[in-house]
């Protein structure tokens, strides 16, 4: 039986990977994927704590989290498509119209 801490390490590592992806990449699609990575890392934390406390409330939260992530992906991709239609690019450095 493996210690819960290892799962939390994997979760932390994945979260940091996602955060670095959002900060360093400029492609809006890859930034969205990094967001999904961070959400998944949080889900893994929830599952590990649920196992440790023998409480299935964590599973319910992961369920809700997955639903929110699906909704976020649908709306985010629609926004990216709309941006691409008007600007012909998904590079966030070129989307500085509102920047002073």
């Amino acid at each position: 039986m493996i210690s819960i801490s290892y799962y939390l390490w994997v979760s932390a590592w994945l979260f940091v990977t996602g955060a670095i992806g959002v900060l360093l990449r400029r492609n809006a699609l890859i930034m969205l994927m990094s967001l999904e990575l961070m959400l998944n890392a949080v889900n893994l934390s929830f599952m590990a704590y649920a196992r440790m406390l023998n409480d299935m409330g964590g599973h319910v939260f992961v369920f809700l989290n997955i639903t929110v992530a699906a909704a976020e992906a649908a709306v985010g991709l629609a926004i990216i498509l709309a941006i691409y239609r008007t600007k012909e690019t998904v590079d966030v450095d070129h989307l500085s119209l509102m920047q002073h």
């Binding site: 932390a12 670095i20 196992r51």
Partner: protein
């Protein structure tokens, strides 16, 4: 056996997670992300979360990633150039985030082995009973959120009718 599966799933998952942000091509990133999702599903199964493991495969690796791949194929993208100029503060920010998370997790390092799972832990019966009794209000609210997302996605992706 459990330890072996844990190391296989976590090493593949973390490596592919790194490849998601390392890859220059969004299509490659998406494929690596699918592999990460599948490995996480395996980790959920190791944590006695059978129901959530199935959901992960169905919704994430299935629905969400198909949507992503669909959009990637619709867009024709130029390859991304080198990291932006003056990206030093970004690296510092990333380092700070990493430090925070590592410190937070490291402080909790002696959790030890989990207790034996109670009956029906993580099965559809167990999670479903909880979902429709204790957490019925969030469950209903999430359906409203999905409705809003559907309407929003349709309106956003609709071309102007002129």
């Amino acid at each position: 056996m459990e330890a072996l599966l844990f190391w296989i799933f976590s090493i593949i998952g973390v490596t592919c997670g790194g490849m998601v942000i390392w890859n220059r091509n969004p299509m490659g990133s998406a494929i690596y992300l699918v592999v990460t999702m599948l490995c996480l599903s395996g980790l959920y199964a190791l944590l006695n979360g059978a129901f959530v493991a199935v959901l992960q495969v169905l919704i994430y690796a299935g629905a969400v990633m198909v949507l992503m791949l669909f959009v990637i194929m619709m867009l024709s993208m130029r390859p991304e150039g080198a990291p932006r100029e003056g990206s030093m503060p970004v690296w510092i920010a990333a380092g700070v985030i990493g430090l925070i998370v590592v410190l937070r997790i490291g402080a909790l390092f002696d959790f030890g082995r989990p207790p034996d799972a109670v009956d029906e832990f993580g099965t559809i019966q167990g999670v479903g009973a909880l979902l429709f009794n204790t957490y019925v209000l969030p469950f209903e609210l999430i359906s409203v959120l999905l409705l809003i997302a559907v309407i929003g996605a349709v309106i956003l992706s609709k071309r102007d009718a002129q």
